[in-house]
Amino acid sequence: MAREIEQSRPIPVAQPAHRARGQRRLRAGLPWLHWSTGYFYLLPALIVYGVFALLPMADTLRASFTQWDGLNPPVYVGLDNYASMLQDPAFLTALAHNLYFIIFSSVLPILIALVVTSLLTRRRLPGMTFFQTALFLPQIIPITVVGVVWTWILNPAFGPVAEILRAFGLSSRPWLGDFDLARPVIGLIVTWMTYGLCLVLFLAGVQRIDTDLFDAAEIDGANEFRQFMVVTLPGIRNELGVALVITMIEALRLFGLIFVTTQGGPGKETYVIAFQLYQVAFIETQVGYGAAIAVVLTLLIVGLSSSVLWLHRRVMGDW
């Protein structure tokens, strides 16, 4: 196909003047180019993306207004699915837990990373590449591996944590099976996954700050804390925004970790929206309701991340 495109196009000089005039309205980015050329290059991407992403997304919206078991024809029910979601204790619990996990995925890691960054500011430490790679690793490890590793580490009978506690004469608790502890423990695993990402981001941001700014602040008598507040923090504002968005999305999409470690339990202590979506749409085959949950989850992710970016722009100035 590509070969044909190439051969069928006249080279610029050869293009007759009257044709160019006739096509003035349809102009490509390069003035001598035939206006339609770009479409041939877009076509393959558009077809795959359209058929396997865009259409299913539209289908999700359509299915969310129906009651459907996946086999018989769907029945249109208007906004019923959304209305019942508001009264569904399982959904409301899941939603609350997702918001709770944002504290562990975003707030806690960003605070930790800021404290560490403040200690490192202006110091180009040898060995930084090693630290960066190691800190970023929890983001690269497949989520099921994270789940397997931590389930073992927290195993109350023979895990490393239990062994450490035993050495101090303490007995271990069933961390992931405990009604009071399961949720914060899962939260801390999420913190483990994201704090390195935040730190790597902030340290990269600090590197880009003009060192003259620190010198100027120092001459003005600013101590290290003041320098951090007036130079470092504004200097890494972009990285702060990016870290907040990425880590919030991670909390909202939480699924694989829950699937491997607790399956939402004990009870519904670690139940989250994506897990409910999976159960409702594929196990209980309430496809319409599942689709409605998917729509709300999507709106939550897109809405929260874009409002963070908007707020960020308002508060921190231009990117």
Partner: protein, 279 residues
């Protein structure tokens, strides 16, 4: 500033200590699982922290054969390689169109692709399953490849557009005047020019596709088609899965991407933090 000057020395030491602590917390769980993968079950019951007596590969061999990680590994390659190749080729072409050729209506079309950058898999997974089922594409490698390629393309087009926008249009013009078509100038002149961006894209998409969990879990219910991360999740629940075997399996799942990441970490971090939310 010289970080070892007496004036700064104590703060430098403090910085290293804190950084070392953070790194240790990130690495410790992973190092423990690596140690465990080489131990016998007996060694593990004695202590989880001790070094293995010898670095035996028995656990890996057993996970590979009895745990069917050889099958999952093969499946992962069958899914990831075509997904990345299709996505990268189509993204480069699409990015070229948006960044340089700019056909009329490109703004509206580009917004269409941006939807796919902002919206996660969860938005499409429900109808995707029921649609693909009617076409017999559940438990089918193409059923795993094409949907993953689709969302990868959204990000890829976004990513490559930015790369091509940085290329001066005169370059294409010069190539075309030399007698090359738009295709030849893309292949011979532009792709070598934007190679760093292409490389980053390849690394990002490889890691994302290799690690994908929800989509494979839903679209490949049969063990026969599971990729490594999903295979591991089910292996853990089977009766044969001792901790040492789980550890060996985890290493098989994680190691290829850890190696890839270590080599290309600069590109990866740059890509992931430039607004990438797919993953």
């Amino acid at each position: 500033m010289n970080i070892w000057k007496p004036r700064y020395r104590s703060r430098t030491i403090l910085a290293y200590v804190v950084l070392g602590l953070c790194t240790t917390i990130a690495l410790a769980p992973l190092l423990l699982i690596v140690l465990t993968a080489f131990k016998t079950e007996k060694e593990l019951t004695l202590s989880v922290f001790s070094l293995p007596a010898a670095f035996r590969l028995d656990n890996f061999a057993e996970a590979w054969e009895r745990g069917k990680f050889s099958l999952y590994f093969r499946n992962s390659l069958i899914v990831v390689a075509p997904t990345v190749v299709i996505s990268v080729v189509f993204s480069v072409m699409g990015g070229y169109a948006f960044g340089l050729l700019k056909p009329p209506g490109q703004r509206a079309l580009f917004l269409l692709f941006l939807i796919g950058v902002a919206v996660p898999f969860e938005a499409a997974i429900v109808p995707l399953y029921y649609r693909l089922r009617t076409f017999g594409m559940i438990n089918n490698f193409w059923g795993l490849i094409l949907p993953q390629a689709a969302l990868s393309i959204a990000f890829g087009v976004f990513w490559m557009r930015a790369a091509f926008l940085a290329v001066p249009p005169e370059l294409v013009e010069a190539a075309v005047i030399d007698g090359a078509g738009t295709w030849t100038s893309l292949r011979k002149v532009l792709v070598p020019l934007v190679m760093p961006s292409v490389l980053t894209l390849i690394v990002l998409l490889s890691v994302w596709t290799w690690n994908e969990f929800l989509l494979v879990l839903v679209l490949a219910p049969s063990d026969q088609y599971r990729t490594l991360p999903v295979g591991l999740a089910f292996f853990r629940n089977s009766r044969t899965a001792s901790v040492t075997l789980q550890a060996a399996g985890s290493l098989i799942v994680a190691l290829p991407m850890v190696v890839l990441f270590t080599i290309f970490q600069r590109q990866f971090i740059r890509g992931m933090t430039s607004g990438a939310v797919r993953g």
